[in-house]
Structure formats: C-alpha cells, structure tokens
C-alpha cells in the first residue's frame, strides 16, 4: 500500500530563482506554440513577433501601471493582507487626478498641476484602501472580499460621475469628461504612449520600498506581521498601525498609477472599467510572480507587459479571439507560477507500507 503525503521543505534561494526563470521561459514557449497553432502561422514568424514585442518600447506604457501598483501590493502581501482592490484604487486615483486637473485652478499651472494631481490621486487611493483595512482590524471583516467589492463600487462611482455631473461640454454625449488642460498633461515620449516621468518616479519607488522593507525597523516589522504578529507586538510596535500603514501605502501607489493613466494616456476621465481594464488584477499576479520582492518586480512587470503587447500583436491576425487566446496563455502562466510555488515550498513523499 502506497501512502502519499505532502511535507514542507526549504528550497535554496538559487534553486527557487532558477525555477522561476524556467517557468518564465516555459510560459513564453506556451505563448508562442499556442499562437502559432491557433493562427496557423509558422513558428519563425511568431518568434520574431515575440522578439519585437520584447523590444517594443510601448511595453513601458504597461510597465508604468503595473510597476507602481505591484510595488504597493508587495508591501500589503508581505504583511499577508489580501488587497485585491488595486483595480478600484487605480480607478479612484484617476478620479482624484481628474478632479485636481479639471476643477481646480491648480490644473492650469505648469509643473505644480501634475504634481498636485498625482499627489492627490495617491491620497484618494490611500483613503479607498483605508476603509477595508479599518473594517478588517476593528470588525474582523474579510479584507479580500471587501476590497473586491469596492472595485465595483469604484467603477460605478466613476460611471456615475462621467454619465452625470462631470460629463464634458464638448464630448457629444460620450460618457467622458472634457480633456484636462495642457499644462497638466505629462509629456509623452514622441511616437509612443508613455511618459518618462512616472517611470522614473517608479524606479525611485523601487529603491525606497526595498530599503523600507528590508532595512528599516517598521518595514521589517511589516514583513514579520504575517508569521509572528505576537513578536512584533512585543518589540513595541503596534500591529494595528503597521497593518493600516501597509494597506494605505499599497492604496496610495495604486492611486498614483491611476493618476498617471489620466495625465499620460487617457487625458480625461472615462468610465471606470476602461481606466482599470483589468490591470489591477494583473498587477496582483505581477506581485506574486516577483515572489514579493520589490527588485524582482521590475523584471516581472516587464515580462507581463511584454505578454500584453504580444497579445495585441497576435490579435491583428484574427480580431475575434486573439484577446481570448492571450488571456488563456497569461492565465496558464500564472497557474504554472502557482505550481512552481508549490514545488519550492513542499515535496511529495511516497511511503510503502505493508
């Protein structure tokens, strides 16, 4: 009689890194073979399509959303708090940025306008994240479910604004606001749809968050919160304050990403599901793909953005299901990541008993 049991193990760092890289390469192989199989292209064309996607600078348009959002989520997940609300926080962040840009005199001033917009969008995002964490800490309401629900509340809140009070005067009945004033827009790189400023700020965020999480007392306590909250309490730091801090930081970074979406890409407020476009959910997977490490986040976000661009590239061939195939591939890669997580944490032991 064979008895199968699953036991924990410690995987060396080198091994888990190489496992992750193997998963990433396997994912690309799946992407290429599926694409060439379904669209009946030869493998060579698809491969060259993938290479051009890797080198296409428009990848940075997605990186500038995924990177800050995933960085914020990394803080929350390190504290083992399930923030699934990045999507909603991006959307309300966009709302905050539009408010400053369109409805306050600050929007017409150069430099100060975009800066205050982005700052305010982070504050709105942080406030949006503040509600579920308060409910979690004081009333013990599951934060994963509340943040998920609040995504939809954010969608409909923005829908209400663009269909109602904020609808622009010169948009011919489309559900969107007027364009934000020119001084408030962030300059795009010529020929592409991304701007360098948010990317530079995100790069600074990486360094800051790395030092915060690994070198400061508060950051280390946040990382310890998941495994030994008792020890954190005994070291004299309130675990309640830490949880709130981790959550509002993640909300603020997602809000920042939403703000840049308005200032760089859309340049007006559009209905909620178009601003978020599911990127908040993808960011959750980016955070886990990078094993909750802020420095690995840049690689993970670049990788996922490439898959995004690749999916757009293969869509041109057959418009109907290109997007759907891309989703299957991305989902399969994420499932593979989960399997790799299992391999690095557990092992299967077979025992032969008489």
């Amino acid at each position: 009689m064979i008895k199968i049991s699953i036991v924990k193990r410690e995987f060396p760092l080198f091994m888990s890194i190489s496992l992750r890289i193997a998963i990433a390469i396997l994912g690309l192989l799946i992407a290429v073979t599926t694409a060439s199989f379904i669209f009946q292209q030869d493998l060579h064309t698809t491969l060259s399509l993938l290479t051009t996607s890797f080198l296409n600078l428009n990848v940075l348009r997605y990186v500038s959303v995924f990177l800050p959002t995933a960085l914020g989520l990394i803080i929350a997940y390190n504290a083992s708090l399930w923030n699934l609300g990045a999507e909603g926080q991006i959307v309300v962040g966009a709302m905050g940025a539009t408010f400053i840009a369109l409805f306050t005199p600050l929007g017409n001033i150069e430099y100060i306008g975009p800066a205050t917009s982005l700052f305010f969008s982070s504050i709105v995002g942080a406030l949006w994240a503040f509600i579920p964490i308060i409910l979690k800490i004081y009333f013990n309401v599951n934060e994963a479910l509340t943040t998920l629900m609040m995504n939809y509340i954010a969608y409909y809140l923005v829908d209400y604004l663009v269909y109602g009070p904020w609808r622009g005067k010169s948009v011919y009945g489309y559900p969107e606001t007027d364009m934000i004033p020119i001084p408030c827009r962030l300059q795009r790189v010529v020929g592409y749809s991304f701007s360098l400023y948010p990317l530079l700020i995100s790069l600074i965020f990486i360094v800051v968050i790395y030092f915060f999480l690994y070198k400061t007392r508060v950051g280390i306590s946040i990382r310890a919160l998941s495994t030994s909250s008792r020890a954190v309490e005994l070291s004299g730091i309130s675990s309640i304050k830490l949880a709130i801090l981790a959550f509002i930081l993640s909300g603020a970074l997602a809000g920042f990403a939403g703000g840049t979406e308005v200032l760089v890409y859309h340049r007006k407020l559009v209905p909620g599901s178009k601003i978020g476009a599911g990127m908040g959910y993808i960011s959750i997977m980016v955070a886990w793909l990078s094993s909750l490490n802020p420095i690995a986040a840049i690689v993970a976000s670049y990788y996922v953005s490439t898959l995004y661009i690749f999916s757009l590239a293969i869509q041109i061939g057959s418009i109907n299901i290109g997007d759907a195939v891309a989703r299957i591939v991305i989902g399969a890669i994420f499932l593979l990541t989960i399997v790799s997580e299992f391999i690095s944490k557990y092992k299967i032991v077979l025992r032969f008993e008489k």
Binding site: L145, I153, D159, I321, G331, F334
Partner: protein, 286 residues
C-alpha cells in the same frame, strides 16, 4: 407583480448565490466563480445548438464539476492560496469561454426554453430549501460548516478537510452551472464574447450580503434583482442614476457583514471564520 419579484433572471442568480454559499461555507474563498460562470454560459450556448436541452444540462454540469476538481487540486493538494488560484483561473477561463463560444458556435442565437412562472417559483423555493437542509440538517452539511469554521479542529474530530472541501466544490459548482445554464437558455437567449462576465462576482457579493445563509439569500437576491430589473423605472420616476443602483449590492453586502460583526446578531448568524485559510496538515517526512 410576482413576475417582477421572481423572474428567470432571479432564479439564475439564486442558483449561483446558493452554489457559492455551499462552497464558501467550507472555508474556500470562491473567486473562480466569475470565470466559471462565463465559461458555463459559453458552453451551454454551444451545446444548445447541437443537443437537446436535457442532454446539454448534463454535459455542462459534468464539465463544470471537472473544473471544480481542478480547483480542488490547486487548493487542497498544491496548497495554493485560494485567492491566487481564483484570479489566475479566472483569467484563463475568461479566455477559454470566448474561444469556445466563437470557435464552436454555429449561429448567433439559440432556441430559448421558456420556464413557466409557477415553475420558477417552485424551483426557487425547492432549491433554497434543499440547500438549507443540506447545510443545516445533514451530516455532510455539518462537516462543511465545521471546515469553514475551524479546519484544524474538524480534522481532530476525524473529518478529512480536503474531502469535505472537494465535495462542497462539486455540489456548489453543480448549482452554479445550473444557474449559468438558466441564465443563457431561459433569460438571455443570445451570446456575445464575455457574456455574463461580472455576474459571478455579483453572486459573490449577494452571498456575502446574505451572510452565507440560504434563506436570507433568497430574500436578498429577490430584493436586489427587483431593483436591478427596475432601473429604468427608478430612473424615470425618481431620477435615480443607474450607476447608483448597480453599486447597491456591493455597498449593501459590505454594510451587512459589518453590521453582523458589530452587533449581537453575530451569535445567531455565524459567518465562516476560516474563510481563505489554506489548510496544511503536518505529516511525517519519512
């Protein structure tokens, strides 16, 4: 009047909500529901163009239960986080649903099955009652609720947590598949890529708003769908924006769960405390 309160759409939502209740009572955060609903709708649409209604129900339920076993594999064997499993499965299943629907459909519409009003009411009452009996009066229901409340303690009492959670997933997804089938076959009748996306999360919110209790779920679902289907009337008479009505179930579900937690009702309406807990049973290594 009764047609407004309990129509086919209410019935389909009720099935999904009840299925979700069975699953979440066993302690699984069931985010995969949205992807599965989208997939089940696409599969039913494709099947209805080829087979008789009864046969297509069987095939849909079988396929969706197979997916439930895959979810169980991830959650119970691979010990993956419920949330990550749910989100990744969702992305893949959305894609799969659109691919299946576009690639395999023959025509744009299907022959609708009309369920008479009296049947709708009887079906709604029966399914609610059955789920209530299952959860509160049978042995397996008690096991399911125990696993959702404290898996470690249940294991000590001799319950195999992975077995119970798998059974809960199978029962729950059977109900969810039936709900999706009713949605496309008896209510919508036509299909576009990603039809029904978001309905799963709506069911998740309604289940949470009814504090995972089947009889409250019946009331809450009826109430919400009444509001939802009368959006246009509300807009015309009271000038209520559609976005606000759409927002309601999500706001209300958060409010209700918070109220349950802060008031003494908490002792009567127990909510699954171990929701989302990955249960790992330590075993000997050699």
């Amino acid at each position: 009047m009764i047609e407004n309160l309990l129509n086919v759409f209410t019935l389909s939502m009720l099935f999904m909500v009840l299925g979700n209740i069975v699953i979440e009572r066993s302690g699984i955060i069931n985010l995969t529901i949205d992807g599965v609903v989208t997939l089940a709708i696409a599969i039913s649409y494709v099947l209805m163009q080829r087979f008789e209604p009864i046969l297509s129900v069987f095939i849909v339920v079988l396929l969706i239960v197979a997916i439930a076993f895959i979810i169980s594999l991830f959650i119970n064997v691979l010990h993956a986080s419920h949330i990550l499993t749910g989100l990744s499965m969702n992305i893949a299943l959305y894609g799969l649903s659109a691919t299946i629907g576009v690639a395999l459909s023959i025509e744009r519409t299907i022959k609708q099955v009309i369920i008479p009003q009296s049947y709708v009411i009887i079906l709604a009452l029966i399914v609610t009652f059955m789920v209530w009996i299952l959860l509160y009066k049978t042995k397996i229901g008690t096991f399911i609720r125990a696993c959702g409340f404290n898996p470690r303690a249940s294991e000590f009492l001799g319950i195999k947590v992975w077995k119970v959670r798998t059974i809960a997933l199978a029962i729950g997804y059977t109900l969810i598949a039936l709900g999706s089938y009713i949605y496309i076959v008896a209510y919508r009748g036509a299909w576009l890529p990603y039809s029904g996306m978001g309905n799963g999360f709506l069911a998740l919110a309604l289940a949470m708003a009814s504090s995972w209790h089947p009889i409250l779920a019946l009331l809450i679902t009826i109430l919400f769908v009444y509001f939802y289907t009368s959006i246009y009337i509300l807009q015309l008479i009271y000038g209520m924006p559609a976005a606000i009505v759409n927002m309601l179930p999500f706001t209300v579900s958060i409010a209700i769960v918070t109220i349950i937690q802060i008031t003494p009702i908490k002792k009567k309406l127990t909510i699954p405390r171990a929701l989302g807990e990955v249960y790992f049973k330590e075993e000997r290594a050699t």
